[in-house]
Amino acid sequence: MLASVARRTAQAAAIVFLVATITFVLLQLAPGDPFSPSAESTRVPPSVIEQHRRNFGLDQPIHTQYWRYLTNLVRGDFGYSFSLNRPAFDVIREAVPNTVILALAALVIDFSIGIAVGTIQGARPYSRVDDTLTVATLIMYSMPVFWLGLMLIMVFAGQLHWLPAGGTVSAGTYSALSVFGRVADRLSHLVLPALTLGLVSAAGTARYHRGAMLETITQDFIRTARAKGLEERVVLVRHALRHAILPAVTLFGLSLPVLLSGAVLVEAVFGWNGMGRVAVESILRRDYHVVTGAAILAALMVVVGNLIADALYQVADPRTRVESDS
């Protein structure tokens, strides 16, 4: 068990290292550097530009720069945000909790709705209920996440006025609220973005889980459970679902990158102050280091998420535990 954990952690570290290398290569391939003379800055004397390059080590040979870049990353130095005049890491760090909250809430919605729908479909395959839900999940699956967000805003914020249309907290009144009021305020802002992100991924989870249920339901142990006279509900929940839910654990690891990509768009739609929004806004301000830093951090989240999924899988399925030990 310990050996396999160590091996997987080493693999994860190698992936993070490669991701960092890819971003470094991309940074080098990009035309010019932050101090290349542009149309607006032709009046800056070349000596000043040279001085800036020297200050940031851009005159060093490439392998020295690469080594410095890697050691800086390890120390949590993601470079500098030139437009905000602060370390890039600080800019991103403030946004990380918001993205994590959004992604976790979306994950909960994704898996609870996805598995419920998949189970209902798998219980009565090819029935009218199954067909209707299949069409519904297919349409949901095809929906651009940002468009769904806009439509939900239109209905729930625009027409019904039930929920706020965007932001992480109510701008004017938040500081005047009690502790309980603040939590409620944050939650009400979270509902729509999390629902948007969660529903789209739930469609994929439901499709996947339906397949797993169909495979399970024809197996011998289900027939045995039915033959010994168990109620259908018990057969489904205690026997079939328990078995069919295993592949969903792997799905958790796979859905993370998709979820984080979706979060970029959802954050843009709802003005949710997360990593994606920070990265998009930094593009418009040409703040490379914030964008690359956000990408590396997002990749790190994916890798850690996959490690967790692996561990969960070993907890859930004893067979894999024995296998990886041998």
Partner: protein, 340 residues
């Protein structure tokens, strides 16, 4: 299928009749492209009708052929119908739309008009006809998607073949890179690239989306190659001295083509969504060039007063992705009966 062709004939004939004045206008314009488009519009109902006639005379594809199987697959036919209509709409955009996509009809009097007979999808903030923009947007959205998926699938197949055939350190090096590529959420990856090359033309956009989309395909192709490599017919081919290139081209590729085709069909929808997302963020296809994503962006701030601007392109995206998913699903069950 038979009924679908009859429907196609009726619908295209109705559209041609409805837009007859526009067809004539294009025929008279003298430009070769416009004339060709007008003739295409006129020939579509005829072609569909002839196809329907032929179908009813001889029951063409024998029931057991793969094509016959495909055409009797309900999902595939529905998907194919959706995709074919969208492609036809994109190609015939100048015939179908009454306005050019950039034309601002009347900034003061015709901005944000609700849907009407003259403007079926309304007009936007700059008094441009939304239907015309959506139809022309289809041209950009679909061609970006088709070209990017072509690039991604080609690259992925090549890398997968090299990794699977060579094995050893090259294989593990390539696969570790694929792992890393898959670990970066796609949109963040694209943001980094676009941030570094700040002017993104349509060509660069295709390149960038294609270059970040091949990881999954290469992993799939490599797995297929590994499982085929030890098969007897491959070993036999090697034994009689078939060269490497010929082995790949004549023995391997035909046998891994079907999962690749399915991946391509399923990937199309995904790429349409990605392009739409980038354009929505304002960093993909840039205004004034219309693309579904940036039309939705145009309507973002007008959701309360002019929701039709964002609704129409969104529905177009849903239909496209749905169509390609159905085609992919259908192909999968027809080409890999094992996984049915």
């Amino acid at each position: 299928m038979k009924r679908a062709l009859l429907w196609a004939a009726v619908v295209t004939a109705a559209i041609a009749a409805l837009r007859f004045d526009r067809v004539i206008e294009l025929l008279r314009s003298g430009s070769a492209v416009d004339t060709l488009l007008a003739l295409t519009m006129l020939s579509l109902p005829v072609a569909a009708f002839v196809g329907w006639k032929r179908f009813s005379h001889d029951p063409s594809a024998p029931p057991e052929s793969p094509l016959g199987n495909l055409l009797r697959n309900g999902r595939f036919t529905v998907g194919l119908a959706i995709v074919a209509s969208l492609i036809a709409a994109a190609v015939l955009a100048p015939v179908l739309s009454s306005f050019a996509p950039h034309v601002q009809i009347d900034l003061a009097g015709a901005a944000r008009l609700a849907p009407s007979f003259e403007h079926p999808f309304g007009t936007d903030n700059f008094s441009r006809d939304v239907l015309s923009r959506v139809l022309h947007g289809a041209r950009y959205s679909l061609s970006v998607a088709v070209l990017s998926i072509g690039l991604a699938i080609t690259l992925g197949t090549m890398v997968g073949l090299v990794a699977g055939m060579s094995g050893g350190w090259l294989d593990s090096a390539l696969m570790r890179c694929v792992d890393a590529g898959l670990a970066i959420p796609r949109l963040f990856f694209l943001l980094v690239i676009i941030a570094l090359w700040d002017t993104v033309s349509l060509g660069t956009l295709v390149l960038v989306i294609g270059l970040t989309g091949w990881f999954g395909t290469s992993r799939l192709v490599r797995a297929e190659v590994l499982s085929l490599r030890e098969r007897e017919y491959i070993v036999a081919a090697r034994a009689i001295g078939v060269g490497r290139w010929r082995l790949v081209r004549r023995y391997l590729l035909p046998n891994i083509a079907s999962p690749i085709i399915v991946t391509a069909a399923l990937g199309m929808g995904n790429i349409v969504l990605i392009e739409a997302g980038l354009s929505y963020l304002g960093i993909g296809v840039r205004v004034p060039t219309p693309s579904w994503g940036n039309i939705i962006r145009d309507g973002h701030d007008l959701l309360a007063t002019a929701p039709w601007i964002s609704i129409a392109p969104g529905v177009a995206i849903v239909l496209t992705v749905l169509g390609f998913s159905l085609v992919g699903d259908g192909l999968q069950s027809a080409l890999n009966p094992r996984q049915r």
